[in-house]
């Protein structure tokens, strides 16, 4: 895409986050969508493009009363919304639609109107992973990590430090689920989930949603909010089976997606003022810093330990508190995007002063997919 040709004009999360037992999945989608429409002063009748994951775009369009000329149901896990932004930008530039609504809603904690977790026993995962007792992300996303720690010379304490510093950011955010400070020892003494992962190295499980509205940069100036421009995007997919990822020390999908986004935006890592790396578990920011080129392999843990990503550091990372402390409904990518947009608008609870370029990097499945969006508040 041409950098800066598309902008986010509306962005919002659900009114409440955390535990929302009185709303179903589609209700959460709609709440976020209505908030995002109000944010930019539009109604559902003004939307002609719909993208979502978790629900079908058909269900969302019908529920909200939208008659789209473009729909995208790309569902590759928690980074699907990064891919939706990318696809929407292409669709608007191609003239397939003018104004796109991207929605997310998930009853991760209360499980109201949501499907179960299961794989067909005839699928490759069902045949070659499920029989060995994998349950949910804590026993799958974590599979490569023992190898990664050995290769890089990282320790359990390095994983713990990721959670400690993100809690510092969460402390600044009134909407964060967990705000009390924690220490490395607190993390290492929290209940064992799946060695080497302790509870505080794993994301929250909460309810919530979010929505974005995109249009051309030309039109964006006519809306009430400061436009947040899309400078570059990337996406890729690798494997549905974490046991088959090519390199346990690096995500191919991360590398491909990140490289594409930086090339498109025409920027380097040094230009980035604010960074979101989807953190379903404490190892993901380490992989992300390395695979996106912010750190050399083996240097990410030291980079975090030296407080470069902490409040006051040169590369503020996961400033909403992340999936580890802010919220995690299941497909967290939408909340990473929301925080990037807030930072570019200058209204984040832990605002990075003068931030001009923000990178939002997502993961889908267990290193199965990836999407990257680079935002700017100037064209």
């Amino acid at each position: 895409m041409k950098p800066g040709s598309i902008a986010v004009i509306g962005a919002a999360e659900t009114t409440r986050l955390g535990k929302i037992p009185d709303m179903s999945v589609i209700g959460l989608h709609a709440d976020a969508a209505l908030n995002a429409l109000a944010d930019c002063g539009l109604t559902a009748k003004d939307i002609d493009g719909v993208a979502t994951a978790g629900e079908s775009p058909v269900a969302i369009a019908h529920y909200l009363g939208i008659t789209p000329t473009w729909a995208d149901g790309t569902a590759v896990g928690g980074c699907s919304f990064m891919l939706h932004v990318r696809h929407a930008a292409a669709a608007i530039n191609e003239g397939l639609c003018k104004t796109v609504l991207i929605t997310h809603g998930e009853s991760g904690r209360s499980r109201v109107g949501s499907g179960g977790f299961g794989r067909a026993p005839s699928s490759l995962m069902g045949q070659f992973e499920m029989p060995y007792g994998v349950t949910s992300p804590p026993t799958m996303f974590t599979i490569p990590v023992m190898r990664y720690l050995k290769t890089r010379g990282y320790t359990e304490a390095d994983l713990a430090m990721v959670a400690v510093i993100q809690r510092e950011w969460a402390a600044k955010n009134p909407r964060a689920s967990f705000r009390d400070p924690i220490t490395v020892d607190d993390v290492l003494n929290s209940p064992m989930i799946a060695w080497p992962f302790r509870m505080l190295m794993c994301c929250l499980v909460t309810d919530g949603g979010g929505a974005l509205i995109l249009t051309s940069a030309e039109r964006a100036k006519d809306f009430p909010q400061k436009p947040v421009y899309i400078l570059g995007t990337g996406e890729s997919v690798e494997t549905p089976m974490v046991s088959q990822m090519e390199d346990f020390n690096s995500s191919k999908a991360f590398r491909v997606s990140g490289k594409k986004a930086f090339e498109e935006a025409g920027i380097t890592q040094a230009d980035v003022d604010h960074l979101m790396i989807y953190d379903a578990f404490a190892h993901l920011p380490l992989y992300g810093l390395e695979d996106l080129g912010f750190c050399k392999p083996g240097e990410a843990a030291g980079f975090i330990r030296d407080r470069h990503t902490a409040p006051g550091g040169k590369l503020p990372l996961n400033t909403n508190g992340g999936g580890l402390s802010y919220m995690h409904s299941g497909m967290y990518g939408m909340y990473a995007l929301q925080e990037s947009v807030r930072q570019m608008r200058g209204i984040a609870p832990a605002q990075v002063p003068g931030a001009k370029i923000a990178v939002s990097h997502g993961v889908g499945g267990m290193f199965a997919a990836s999407g990257t969006v680079i935002f700017g508040n100037e064209t």
Binding site: Q127, P131, T135, I143, R147, W195, S243
Partner: protein, 133 residues
């Protein structure tokens, strides 16, 4: 609760048939000689449909793992390993490491392991145990 078991497909039947007779079967491309896993009727490296099935050595190293402290109901109640081993022939596969304590001390990365099979009704699952144990 019965253990979750695979349901073979036409493309994977040879693998599960092999497990029942105590053979770990891999596939190899006759064009580029690449061994690969999981089973499929073409070579993922070069796309050739000319592939052959062969009996692997069953030797591997422990490549990575977790110890699940919250086992699935069909897996019993004790913490157990969920591991990936790297086979001598190259491919990696998920498995459980059996025949040793399920502790970080007993489960050292890169330790040699070898295949062993356990039967659950119509299916035999390939597990790995410390070599020579």
């Amino acid at each position: 609760m019965d253990r979750a078991l695979p349901q073979p497909t036409p493309e994977t039947q040879h693998f599960w048939d092999g497990c029942k007779v105590g053979e770990l079967r891999l596939q190899k491309c006759t064009a580029c000689r690449e061994s690969y896993f999981p089973p499929r009727p073409f070579c993922p490296a070069c796309g050739s449909r000319s592939v052959e099935i062969y009996k692997a050595s069953g030797k591997a190293i422990l490549y990575s793992y977790v110890i699940n402290h919250r086992p699935r109901p069909d897996m019993g109640t004790a913490p157990h390993s969920i591991a990936v081993v790297q086979l001598e022939e190259g491919p990696r596969m998920m498995t459980n490491i059996v025949g040793c304590p399920q502790t970080p001390e007993a489960l050292q990365l890169d330790m040699p392991v070898e295949v062993t099979f356990e039967t659950f009704g119509a299916i035999a699952l390939p597990f790995f145990k410390p070599a020579g144990a």
